[in-house]
Amino acid sequence: MRYNVPVMDDNLALYKTMLLIRRFEERLLSEFSTGKVVGTTHAYIGQEADAAGIFSVTEPDDVVFSNHRCHGHFLAYGGEPYRLAAELMGKTTGLVGGRGGSQHIHWRNFYSNGIQGGIAPVAVGMALAEKVHATGKIALVFIGDGTLGEGALYESLNIAALWKLPILFVLEDNHYAQTTPVEKGVTGSISGRFAAFGIPFWERDTTDVLDIQSAADETVRSVRSGAGPASLILHTYRFSAHSKGDDPRSPEELAYIRQFDPLTVHGARLTAEECTKAESEIAVVINDAYIRADADPFPVLSAER
């Protein structure tokens, strides 16, 4: 069953999706200090409007390939917070039984992998499969400004356009590839990269979920119409470190980008009462998810190999 899917034209539902992602990941980051979560993770905090806007205009069975920063996409796709928390804690009840962890999850038609660039052709192949099966589904692949350095991406754009495949390339430019600013990693034009392959692009520099939603709606309609691939370029801000503690940005810069907080931007459209109620609802959901996951067993490697 899907959980808390964002809905177009439903301001409260959009807000709740973003808030769920925010509070889920804040809890996740805090659980590292309790030792309940180990390893690493890549928080989506700051970028929530992208996922909420996009998944409010997709169909439930569309095929999604996400990347290392996948929790927000997964939760906006309708994934259950408890199954994700269990996966992050390495429990048998996790999405993939603790085998994948933060970057490598699969549920229904949602997939993620931790390799930049390499996921792009895989998603193109998925789009091809949906096309030949005439399912009407489209594929979405989430890439970032950092992915623009990977050659496999350009091979994928070329083939997707050549074969007119139903795939949406969502590029979330959060201005940093780990610690490398986009100015030091990307030359020329980002949209020009898609245009060079004849792939139409919609580009927005905003953290307003409604703006993102309307652009996403147009791109998704274009892809679903059979016109071939499209791209959605979203300039956004990552408030958290790339993973856990690796953030060389200045306090001034971090303070500056906080003014674009999508929760504040969109929260202005809700009443204070609605916001407070959403907070308390989501606090319960997240607490339940983590507590329940914490009680679940750790997997044991099967003897048979």
Binding site: Y111, P121, M126, A127, L128, A129, A152, I159
Partner: protein, 330 residues
């Protein structure tokens, strides 16, 4: 005369006729060209919608095939030269081979990547290598090589039917070789026994008094057979040959009955010597049976030269096998 190429081509035709989930992807595979080595000849004429000619984009060819396999199709990707597998390493190692296990067995990846490996055609350093050793031992990836003894069509059909990704390594000299028939030609002196079904191994014996076991796969079976006959005719030494089709994961059970008789193992491969197939076979054999003597025959640890005189010196020869065998039993 039926060749290895004929059988591989037949297997692709048969798979496409009987299963509309089968797609072929690769560079220059459309008729009338039909692929650089003609393995895909005739397919695009008969199944134009399911034979997809691609740009020169090896990573995307295998990546796209990966995605197709995850979503219920059975793609067969052709990589024009085996040397180009370096370009698909990410897709094989970090995507195709991992998905099933990483996603807790909730998906399967019925993907076949076919590619011609091997030298002896004068193609030089980047079109002659046997790079399959780089993919041996990758969890979740099978590496399979046809030979002229088992039916290459059945082997390829098994790979296409497999739920897991298979790297299917075809030695390019093997394409024009006729299929061998047990009891005929230079197999007349051997009893041939098949072990296993999908990716079988073969044991070749002629007597109870064999003094060494030669392990090999693919085209090098041709060299091993010639060496075994030379050892017999010139030196009155009997050798048993174990011919593998499945290189990885390592299943060496077919080897041990023979080693129990001979106590001497000689491995033959065309990849470079260091950290090769033979090294793993040898150490596994020694771990299993104390007191074995082992030797490896492989290419020198050098790029493969273009000049025939140099290429011949770099790649293993029948004489190398004979000489190493004589040393092994001395």
């Amino acid at each position: 005369m039926v060749t290895v190429l004929d059988r591989l081509n037949y297997a692709l035709h048969h798979a496409m006729e009987t299963d509309d989930r089968v797609y072929i992807l690769g560079e220059d595979i459309l008729d009338p060209y039909g692929g650089a080595f003609k393995v895909t000849r005739g397919l695009s004429t008969k199944f134009p919608a399911r034979v997809l000619t691609t740009p020169i984009s090896e990573a995307a060819i295998v990546g796209v095939a990966n995605g197709m396999a995850l979503r219920g199709l059975h793609p067969v990707a052709e990589i024009m030269f085996g040397d180009f597998v370096t370009l698909i390493a990410d897709q094989l190692v970090n995507h195709a081979s991992k998905f099933r296990w990483m996603y807790n067995d909730q998906v399967c990846v019925p993907l076949v990547v076919r590619t011609p490996m091997g030298g002896r055609r004068g193609y030089g350093p980047t079109h002659s290598q046997s790079l399959e050793k780089m993919f041996l031992g990758v969890p979740g990836l099978k590496v399979v090589a046809p030979n002229a003894l088992g039916d290459p069509a059945e082997l390829l059909a098994a790979a296409i039917a497999d739920d897991d990704p298979v790297l299917f390594v075809e030695h390019k000299v093997l394409y024009t070789r006729p299929l061998l028939e047990p009891g005929k030609g230079d197999l007349i002196d051997f009893q041939v026994e098949q072990i296993g079904d999908a990716y079988p191994a073969f044991t070749l014996r002629s007597t109870d008094s064999a003094r060494l076991t030669i392990a090999c796969y693919g085209y090098n079976f041709e060299l091993a057979r010639a060496a075994a006959l030379d050892l017999l005719m010139e030196h009155e030494i009997f050798a048993e040959i174990i011919l593998f089709s499945q290189l990885s994961p390592f299943d060496l059970e077919p080897l041990f009955p023979s080693l129990a008789r001979t106590r001497k193992l000689l491995t033959v491969e065309e990849g470079t010597l260091s950290l090769g197939w033979g090294a793993e076979v040898a150490v596994r054999a020694v771990e299993r049976m104390d007191g074995l003597r082992v030797r490896r025959v492989a290419a020198l640890d050098l790029p493969i030269a273009n000049a025939k005189s140099l290429e011949d010196a770099i790649l293993p020869s029948v004489q190398d096998i004979v000489n190493t065998a004589l040393f092994l039993i001395s």
